[in-house]
């Protein structure tokens, strides 16, 4: 999993059916000090994290396919937690 900050949101009308019903957010990976680290990624967000909130993103494709209920979904990243603190 990676620490990330929610930087934005993506809306797509023409998309794979498994993308419907769950919002997609732009997540900027962070290091331990909260500095941006690497390129932003997209992730499904069932927790409705707000703009600039810190989240935990999992790249577990099996869990994401379970989340959308489609065993043939091409999606891989999902937000699995909204962070309280890191130390």
């Amino acid at each position: 999993m990676i620490l990330a900050r929610v930087d934005g949101m993506v809306v797509s009308t023409v998309s794979h059916p498994s993308l419907r019903g769950c919002r997609t957010v732009i997540c900027q990976p962070l290091d331990e000090a909260g500095r941006a680290e690497g390129a932003p990624i997209l992730a499904l967000d069932p927790h409705s994290a707000g703009q600039h909130q810190r989240v935990l993103v999992s790249t577990d494709g099996a869990a994401t396919r379970r989340l959308v209920g489609d065993p043939r979904s091409p999606l891989r990243n999902s937000v699995i937690a909204v962070l309280d603190e890191t130390s």
């Binding site: 990976p29 962070l30 331990e32 690497g38 935990l56 994401t64 937690a81 909204v82 603190e85 890191t86």
Partner: protein, 103 residues
């Protein structure tokens, strides 16, 4: 599997139901330093991993990434992609003990 140093902890209240009660650690991957083989240097990328072994900040651990991480006991239905699978006692490279660091 990879070596990493525990650099912190992560706390989240709002999370997947299956993640309740799981300890989260912040890891910095470690690589053998090619310029100075008897040492480990920091790798790129910060990783968050679940830990059931009781590792703490400053310790060197072994972790697994990817779907193999879920093979660890009791994680089959948990959306994790990184798990601490060992706490490292020693590391030896070319007959040099590089962990714990020699004085």
């Amino acid at each position: 599997m990879q070596l990493a140093r525990v650099i912190g902890t992560v706390v989240a209240t709002k999370k997947e139901e299956a993640m309740q009660g799981r300890k989260l650690l912040l890891l910095r991957p470690l690589l053998v330093d090619e310029a100075d083989p008897p040492r480990l240097r920091d790798g790129a990328g910060t990783v968050v991993a679940t830990d059931s072994l009781g590792a703490g900040p400053g310790e060197t651990v072994l972790y697994c990434q990817g779907s193999s991480a879920r093979q660890a006991a009791g994680l089959q239905t948990v959306p994790v992609d990184a798990v601490v699978v060992g706490i490292v006692d020693t590391v030896e490279v070319s007959r040099h003990r590089i962990h714990p660091a020699q004085p």
